[in-house]
């Protein structure tokens, strides 16, 4: 992002208020350029740190794996199920640690569990994660050791139903903020997250399953990777000028890297994933890394978007002009 130090808006003959640096879209009519207060952001940047994008990835992996595990169970792929359930459980289990460590007051995390609030996706998400973790303990014990013969199937079903929600609610959470690049992508973000979760779950299963049953995970990884790439492209296209963070700075670099790894991983899985173990392992790892990087890129884009006053003011001005 070109940093241009701007004076506050000026009235009169020459609106010199807010020249946006040369990049970006050029507007046709000069006076429509949004102004700002000394180039300072209008909204606040988030205060979240590395734990949050890590959780986006890990939570997605957990949710996607729960769905995959149930399908593996019902389609008679015990070797896949015996891996996907523990993957889902383990990633659900590290999630609270990540979330609590990001809190400003970690010792008060339980205040989240005293409230259930429909207007707060974070509250809803806390309960989705709690429900999925609980179901998953039973499901995994059932899958690995045959414990809970009666409760097992129910728990598996409940985990597989909560899984897609765990994968997508994090998109709801960030879309429900004033950060333009997140809120204005509210129609696409859940699809990016869902596809990315499918890719992660598939890749993890392909990585861990014996060759004879690795086909399911491999296919899901390829399908998910394709969906992830398509959905994020669509998101950027629909964002128009607001997609600028995905082209510049850290988010821009991460976005390119994510796309590259995801496409390369899926390609390797498609071409060499069936026959060669090296292809399967390498392709799966790339898809996993691509999915994690994609979440990082989206996370970072939010900061860049919040920092830029034009991202906030521009669309609002357009809305006012069109209303």
């Amino acid at each position: 992002m070109t940093e241009v130090r701007r004076g506050p808006g000026q009235v009169g003959a020459s609106p010199t208020g807010a020249g946006k640096g040369g990049r970006g879209e050029r507007r046709m009519v000069e006076p429509d350029r949004p102004r700002s207060y000394y180039g300072r952001s209008v909204i606040k940047e988030p205060v979240w740190s590395w734990e949050i994008p890590t959780y986006f990835f890990v939570g997605g992996l957990s949710g996607g794996s729960a769905v995959l595990a149930l399908l593996a169970d019902v389609s008679g792929r015990p070797e896949v199920a015996r891996r996907a359930w523990p993957v889902s459980l383990a990633s659900a289990a590290v999630s609270p640690a990540l979330l609590i460590s990001d809190l400003g007051r970690p010792e008060r995390f339980y205040n989240m569990l005293r409230v259930a609030k429909a207007t707060s996706p974070m509250s809803t998400g806390t309960w989705i994660l709690t429900g999925l973790s609980g179901s998953n303990v039973v499901a995994t014990a059932n899958s690995l050791f045959g414990w809970f013969p009666r409760l097992g199937p129910f728990s598996k079903l409940s985990a597989a139903l909560l899984g897609p929600l765990l994968s997508t609610y994090t998109a709801v959470l960030i879309a429900d903020t004033a950060v333009p690049v997140w809120h204005e992508a509210r129609r696409e973000l859940p699809f990016v997250f869902a596809a990315s979760s499918a890719a992660s779950a598939g890749a993890a299963a392909a990585l861990l399953s014996p060759r004879s049953q690795a086909g399911l995970g491999r296919r899901l990884a390829i399908l998910g990777a394709a969906g992830e790439t398509a959905a994020s492209r669509l998101m950027e296209r629909r964002l128009g000028t607001l997609a600028a963070p995905y082209r510049t700075g850290t988010a821009g670099r991460l976005s390119k890297l994510a796309t590259g790894m995801t496409i390369a991983g899926a390609g390797i899985l498609a071409v060499a994933g069936r026959r060669r173990p090296a292809g399967r392992v390498g392709g799966s790892l790339l898809v996993l890394a691509g999915a994690a990087t994609e979440r990082w890129s989206i996370f970072k884009a939010g900061f860049q978007s919040a920092r830029d006053p034009q991202q906030t003011v521009g669309p609002q001005r357009e809305r006012l002009a069109n209303s």
Binding site: Y37, V42, R105, S167, A175, F193, A198, L216, R219
Partner: protein, 300 residues
Amino acid sequence: MQLTLHRSAAPYPPERQRPRVGFFTDTSICIGCKACEVACKEWNNVPADDCGFSGDSYDNTLALGADTWRHVAFIEQRRPLGLREEPGTSLVQEAAAGQLGADGELPVHEDAGFRWLMSSDVCKHCTEAACLEVCPTGSLFRTEFGTVVVQEDVCNGCGYCIPACPFGVIDQRKDDGRAWKCTLCYDRLRDDMEPACAQACPTKSIQFGELEELRARAERRVEQLRGAGEPGAQLYGADPQNGVGGTGAFFLLLDEPETYGLPPDPVDTTRDLTEIWQTAALAGAMLVAGSVLALIGSRR
């Protein structure tokens, strides 16, 4: 289905509900003395912010934040002298100014005029407050006065309220981890006192009172200013039809909101939450469908 929880500014039973109060900040008479900033810090025991010298006019606190609950903005603007704006009334003045210019004493040109805008910003105490709606602990709550307050003994520093606020008001205090903002002096309200900033303001630029009454007063004031030849005078936030259902603290501005660092059309994003969840449900269904598709295509 719409999510209607916490959407009212008057959620209490009648015997506990008090009239909704707020601020009308009339920036046209602000003199930039920062008495409000100081009074707020003193009364609420707000820590010092590490402000140095910014060079941005007289503004060194720069923005609202965890440790700045009133923020006075200073905007310097070049302005035409106005000689050409009112033809007929100022021919003599124009000639005189032209003569001064010709004498070389005073360079007079179209941009020679100057005006200074000052405005004391504060939390808007929105009718539909995004910060309050997204808070997962219930730490942010609606008081009986219709204001929005953080309960610091409940806040666990999750940080969700911070990017949710469309005005960039609330922020995290780094060494403390929790979120802080203006309380509209909740403690003083309960003792029937006006907030510290309003009491300290020497020009009555900050006016405290019942919201209905303030809105009526502000309408009159804006008409008066427009009549007096201030076409840029406008109310900001007072309209209950705006994207946050009207704000409890609203402003009379002399220029566009973004000039003061305010969003021109802020929206409580929770308004879109139902739609976002529907999208997420659809995306979740696609995840399941994709997994089934992968299953169908694969051999055992």
